[in-house]
Amino acid sequence: MSAYLGDVVVLARKDLLLELRARDTVPAMLLFVVSALVVFRFSLPAEASDLAAVGLLWIAVVFTALLGLTRAFAAEREQRLLDGLVLAPCDRSAIWLAKSASVLAFLVLAEAIALPAFALFFAPVGWETVAAFALADLGIAAVGTLLAAMAAASRARELLLPLLFLPLVIPIVVGGVGASVQADPGRYLAFLGLYDLVFAILAWASFEYVVTE
């Protein structure tokens, strides 16, 4: 178990180091999410309710995550580095877990900018929205990383990833918007937690088959 966690730490640290040096994912995510919120600010009618704005916030975050996921396996894809990792004797699910952790870190960074920006443009963000995003991020990172690995092996990866990812995050959007706007957010948060659990287990167990022929 400690060897497994050691592999995850080593691989995640490598991803964070690569981003720190190349800076080709997080800045793009930050720019995108702020730009999207600015566009939404001017596209919503003045009399529109804050509830509609909350829905748009979730859309902005989902597409920001998609942008990050498109780049998640860029280094491995461009230089066929996934072959090098797959040949190592470590458990292949450690590759997924480490990559999910780095995707999660990038997403949290983007939201650390997006939520204050949303509060500035639209309405204050409550604790239930923050909790919903925390749970949603886990699910997005778990499912998205698996799908990004699948798409990375395909020639039509830019098309394939959104086609696979967006239908699978509909439950996250339903749960997240529900938790953000309903008076009783508990069952929506529980739903998000259940989604995270089920899909994290599925992604963890199936990653091996995705990266091997």
Binding site: A75, Q79, D83, G84, L85, L87, P89, C90
Partner: protein, 211 residues
């Protein structure tokens, strides 16, 4: 038809077979990259694979490494995943990391004992010690190939698969590799796919010409 030409004179069949293939075939869609290959590779054999571009040399090595699955036929590789060293066309190193960081990463994943000493020794041997803290993106093609060789050799593999190992190496680098292969021949199972068979012919116990 792919064929194992001959066991080089003076070399007997090894008792312990590390790779056994029967009727091995691999297709990519309609294209047949490898056809009907039979092979027994002993744990101290050195197999030299030759053939023109597109004859299936790289495909064979990827099959042996476990990166591809055969379309037809049987393939048994008794070396565990962590005991195979693989040099591919791509160097399989991160360009934004330094040589040291790349080897540290692989050394940890391969659970290399005395990792720091082993990495230092390989970097020194392949002339990369002074450039060990430079990012790989600043390396020349030859330096990247040297680093790729260090990565493939890092965990002292039982089965070493090298695809065009002399590619991009200068005379000094090629000499280091010559000495490395000479030391490993007879100790480890080697599979060398090359367009320069004369360079490694003295080490060969098996020849395979793919057509």
């Amino acid at each position: 038809m792919s064929s194992l030409d001959a066991r080089v004179e003076g070399h007997d069949v090894e008792a312990q077979v590390i790779v056994r293939a029967r009727g091995l075939e691999r297709r990519f869609g309609e294209k047949r990259a490898l056809r009907g290959l039979d092979l027994d590779l002993g744990e101290r054999d050195c197999l030299v694979v030759t053939g023109p571009n597109g004859s299936g040399k790289s495909t064979l090595l990827a099959l042996l490494a476990g990166l591809l699955a055969p379309t037809r036929g049987e393939l048994e590789v008794s070396a565990a995943r962590g005991s195979i060293g693989f040099l591919a066309h791509e160097p399989l190193v991160y360009r934004e990391l330094t040589a040291l960081e790349n080897l540290e990463l692989y050394g940890r994943l391969y659970r290399v004992r005395e990792r720091r000493e082993r990495i230092g020794m390989l970097l020194e041997r392949y002339g990369l010690w002074d450039a060990r803290r430079e990012r790989v993106s600043a390396y020349s093609r030859g330096m990247v190939q040297r680093l790729a060789l260090c990565r493939a050799l890092l965990h002292d593999p039982r089965l070493l698969l090298l695809d065009e190992p002399f590619s991009s190496l200068d005379a000094a680098g090629a000499e280091v590799l010559d000495a490395e292969l000479a030391a490993l021949a007879g100790e480890r199972a080697l599979v060398l796919a090359t367009h320069e068979p004369e360079r490694v012919r003295p080490l060969a116990t098996l020849d395979l010409a793919l057509a």
